[in-house]
Symmetry: C2
């Protein structure tokens, strides 16, 4: 939208904001600093701040605000913790950011049903702290301590997904505010239902473009009786990927199987005080009974050995294990230290497991041919991997090379029956790949968007390309 068009909206926006101010008082903030904090900043996508931020305290707050916004066609962007990576919380047309971080109550834990009901602003570590004494845990763990609402909105996953699934699998039901301010409950607190359209799973992954998730019922898992795991070094990244493929094909119920290339290991050694050989590694974890964990580890060890790995280095005590997985979760920050001052651009793709070794090998070669610095790290058991490109944003040529690389990476994954994003979502950054990935289905997505948000006020400019939304 150009400045002239935006000016034309200005009167309408300012009327809407004054109505919102009257309704919400100090819960509504328009200061530049606060608005700036609610614009996206972690990639090369330019921040686009909203005109105001509402700190919502309840579903009713959100419904009331969206109803006012609908009356004035004011854009509304849902905001959790701001840890999304593809410009999801940017406000390209300005408008109202609704910050849900104060909606952070755990409303119920039904231990006997293995589920919990939470407000959207509860983060994954907060929920797990709350569950400490129940013998249960919430398994989905993206790198950031994201809010559960945001994780649902982006269909997040993480290192445990290979065994415990993604947000699409663990969200049983949710409460959402629709584009006209109506509150709906999508789905029921049951393990399965065949009662009509699966609105919960339509809203999961819709990135706030169809409704704003304010409450969720999520499935919990029992903390396994035994946990074991460790690290294992491979001569090449292809060998490591082959070991992952064989592990999945043998149906070993591995709980985590993470691939880190040599460059990422170097970064983790420096940042997290590890002392691993600077070769590609798998970080693995097995959950089960004591006998089951031993059985899985033995099977995996045999597979890895066939692929040329060094012996598995077992992390027997919980402390060593925590250090290891903290290092894995800090991979992004570790990588940034490889090139201080550079911007870290994290991108992800996902391919069928049979294509993983090939896709990673081609991508590694592409990184080198593009003269980029970019560690690869991934949830290899799902066929999902990340490339963290360290870009000097002052170097226009390097920025152009990095952008061209990302474009080729996405096209490569899609050509291999894969997807442009396994877990980060589309936001603004991945919109250019939606047509190649979805073809005619994109029109159906557009029709749903128009039906549920006819004024296009819910997170406009995200997911769907201009000509569809």
């Amino acid at each position: 939208m150009n400045q002239a068009a935006r000016n034309a909206d200005a009167g309408r926006y300012s009327l809407a904001l004054s109505v919102l101010k009257q309704a919400f008082g100090d819960q509504l903030q328009t200061g530049e600093a606060i608005c700036g904090q609610h614009a996206h900043t972690t990639t090369w996508i330019a921040p686009e701040p909203p005109d105001a931020v509402l700190f919502a305290r309840s579903t009713e707050d959100v419904a009331h605000a969206v109803a006012i916004a609908a009356e004035h066609a004011l854009p509304v962007i849902a905001f959790g913790t701001g840890s999304s990576l593809e410009g999801h919380v940017n406000a390209p047309l300005g408008g109202l950011s609704i910050d849900l971080s104060q909606m952070n109550r755990v409303l119920a834990v039904h231990a006997e049903d293995l589920d919990a009901v939470v407000e959207a602003g509860v983060t994954r570590t907060q929920l797990n702290s709350f569950l400490r004494d129940t013998g249960l845990f919430f398994p989905i763990d993206p790198g950031a301590d994201a809010s559960l609402g945001g994780m649902a909105a982006t269909r997040a996953s993480g290192t445990n997904a290979v065994r415990y699934g993604t947000m699409k699998d663990v969200v049983l039901s949710l409460k959402a505010v629709m584009a006209d301010g109506t509150v709906i409950t999508a789905g029921r607190r049951v393990k399965k239902s065949s009662a009509g359209y699966d609105l919960a799973r339509l809203l999961v992954g819709s990135e706030g473009t169809l409704g704003i998730i304010t409450e969720l019922t999520v499935r919990l898992s029992g903390i396994p009786e035994a946990i074991g795991g460790g690290v294992i070094s491979f001569p090449t990244i292809e060998a490591a990927a082959e070991a992952v493929i064989a592990t999945i094909q043998c149906a070993i119920p591995v709980a985590r199987i993470e691939l880190l290339d040599a460059l990422q290991i170097k970064a983790c050694n420096a940042y997290s005080g590890l002392d691993l050989p600077e070769t590609p590694h798998l970080f693995v974890e097995f959950h089960g009974t004591p006998a089951g964990v031993d059985e899985q580890a033995a099977l995996f060890g045999a597979i890895a050995e066939d692929c040329g790995a060094a012996p598995l280095v077992w992390s027997s005590d919980p402390e060593a294990r925590t250090k290891l997985w903290q290092a894995r979760h800090d991979a992004y920050w570790a990588a940034l230290q490889l090139r201080p001052g550079a911007k870290g651009v994290s991108t992800d793709v996902c391919v069928p497991i049979s294509r993983l070794a090939e896709c990673i090998a081609e991508t590694r070669a592409d990184i080198e041919a593009s003269a980029l610095q970019a560690p690869i790290v991934g949830h290899a058991g799902d066929g999902n991997f990340h490339v963290l490109i360290l870009v000097d944003m002052e170097d226009a040529d390097e920025v152009a090379r990095a952008k061209a690389f990302v474009s080729r990476l996405n096209q490569r994954a899609i050509a291999m029956d894969g997807t442009a994003t396994g877990e980060h979502g589309i936001g603004q950054g991945k919109r250019p790949y939606m047509q190649a990935e979805h073809g005619a289905a994109l029109t159906v997505m557009g029709a749903i968007k128009k039906a549920l948000d006819p004024q296009n006020i819910l997170n406009p400019g995200k997911i769907l390309p201009e000509d569809v939304a």
Copy 2:
């Protein structure tokens, strides 16, 4: 629709059918017998035959036929094997039934990715026969040998769902013909994706009202190294339900845990040549490594004993196991023999596992108070159970009592945070409960239906109540 209104449509319909006849020749059949076979007959819902049946041979056939139907606003009903239970394939407004049973090719098995691509008419046993030598199997097993397209359309599950999930979990992607004849591919052949709206899971469970599924990519599972299981007798159905609850709460990864009440056991003894004591039973099965199966069985045995069960009767050889599970799958036919000449009306609900014992106890008491004959059998590990009411359709008072009972059963399940159907779907029979279950979300379902099928030609009169669709 009354006859006058229907007559008004007759000219339009007959034009559409003549265009279809020209396009498809003998693939289009209008004989009364064939049309009658494509109307629903297995419950008390009156059969409503279509005006014609098209035996489709390809996605292109379906797309072509739907495009013609769209031009003439002719209703189109997708038909798999006709084993649905709630009037799903009825044609209340007449129109065209598209029979997909000849689209029965397995198009690809990607053993290394644990998936298969099939046409919609492939049945579950056909796929499993095809997979015989691969070490893989397709786990979803509703009672009938349904088509995979139909199973996806109704979000089917079965005895293995407690461990392997339902159709919503195993459909990776699908091809569908939309209401204007456009063909889309929804979803990708990957384990996870965050790329836009989850159209695959919107179409799964939409019962042919949003699009007609013509092709599916489904996730397969490895045949477990060891399988063990057996039967176990309980003094009361509440005790059996308590054992199920404790098993799930202890996170024993049971593969099957089926509840049969005393009446159903009596029926199975007679029909399938079993000789079980006529008390409530659980049929259980454990999958894993040999040590894992033993471990699960021991844990389960201890739980069951605490609930007052007799010792687990282990079916060690595959033949005994097959006989047992065949008996379970034949429960419907067995029950019918309890009262020859009666209609078997199978209804299902699903509740959170913590409410299962209570819901079954109240339901058992309701059956007795209603003077009905109705065995209970269920996928108890999911909180899902079936009541098969044996109704003398000549006895108007009994029919009325049975209908009132079904209504109370659904209301009871919904009031317990449950759902009106765990796996049978809504069709015509469960539409009256959609409002109570979904509230305001029903309007959103209606908006999606209107956006994707503005003429309401795709399976009209199903899922959504009149005032919404």
